[in-house]
Symmetry: C2
DNA sequence: CACGTGAGTGACTGGTCAGTAACTTTTCGC
DNA sequence: GCGAAAAGTTACTGACCAGTCACTCACGTG
């Protein structure tokens, strides 16, 4: 049997997913859908098509996986954010407006069962904050840093667009976004108040610029 | 030993709390602080100074207690809401402003350790929505009804104050409130964006009336 | 071929948790 | 004081769940 070394060097191997990555993927999906406390290691392992021993070879504990899950989600979120605002670089107002529209699209995702993406359950990190016990400073810190960065960015946009009280405007925009995620948990699709987010953001910006 | 039957009939007995009520009180406290899935029956029972048998004599299951907890919280919330807006009956704009200020006060509660009230962890019902599994329609319905009523009331205020797009304004106000509760989980006291809520609400109202 | 590594199997420990059974004690109205 | 109802005690079942142990199997590389 010939080895695969004959393949053109430019082509990476078909990237058969390693166990560790399969676990991460399954965990991300299950944690998001059912909550962290609602998913046991066995369920993750089964979904990933592996077994508990392989799990504990890759992760010291469930808590470590949770930490990685949260960091991953934050990472993904910043990519999504950057992609949403990129087309309007240099125009902070348009950036915020694009972001708000992106939030609506994100939140309403899953209302159409034909789309492959999982149904939205709001903010993975925010939801985790509900479940994380107070004593767990490690996980709490991840969420806190993440939410602080959201706040920092929105205040920065407000400052850049010349708002009179940039911190107030930034915080108000954050409340709208977070409220959109939070209410998504109770209102399916875009049937909730989140659809008002774009108009509300525009009104707030107008007030702070006028 | 004389019986208490000599008390004036108008005075209800000193209401020494029955086991059932003690369980409800303990559950409310523990569920709110640690989340529903984070509190086991034994913990509730111990906090209430009773035992598991008495628990299951009063409640068919933990889930039934949870349902009662959610209904109770909703009830308390409406009392709080009504009290906040009562001084400004007939002036919907002032009512909304008073409500917003009340939200800030509520959310920041617990930042001063000297006050007896428990530290705020946002909205009990909203947090429950994170933990409730999708299949549990009974609990989900309680939360949904509650959030729908919030929405209904805010839209009503918006209509009464003559807003151009009352539903949009009402929904926007709701996003601000919900965002305030949600972010409270990550930002202690009133260090979070919630402090911007009053100014934001005023700005939104002005826009929709102007 | 040998060897190391990554992955799989099944059984197990120790702990937690919802819920039950049988029985005793306390409380309270009459 | 008496009897019924409310509450307490102890012990238990069965399920679940995090984490471990000892061992086997499949590869790819030198």
């Amino acid at each position: 049997m010939t080895t695969k070394s004959a393949l053109p060097t430019g082509t990476p191997p078909p990237a058969k997913p390693r166990v560790r990555d399969r676990i991460r993927d399954s965990a991300a999906d299950l944690f998001y859908r059912h909550g962290i406390r609602g998913v046991c290691v066995d369920a993750i392992v089964e979904d990933a098509g592996t077994n508990k021993m392989s799990f504990y070879r890759s992760f010291p504990s469930k808590d470590d996986l949770v930490a990685e899950y949260l960091s991953d989600q934050a990472c993904e979120y910043w990519s999504w954010w950057d992609a949403a605002v990129a087309p309007h670089a240099g125009d902070p107002r348009r950036q915020v407006e694009a972001l708000m529209q992106a939030v609506v699209d994100l939140v309403k995702s899953g209302s159409k069962p034909d789309c492959g993406c999982r149904s939205s359950r709001g903010c993975a990190l925010g939801n985790a904050a509900v479940e994380i016990p107070e004593e767990n400073e490690k996980l709490g810190a991840i969420v806190h840093e993440y939410k602080t960065e959201i706040r920092r960015r929105l205040r920065k946009y407000a400052r850049e667009m010349g708002a009179r009280e940039p911190d107030v405007l930034g915080d108000a925009l954050m409340l709208l976004i977070e409220g959109g995620y939070y209410t998504r948990l109770t209102f399916p699709g875009n049937s909730g108040p989140v659809t008002a987010i774009a108009k509300a953001a525009r009104a707030l910006i107008d007030t702070h610029l006028g």
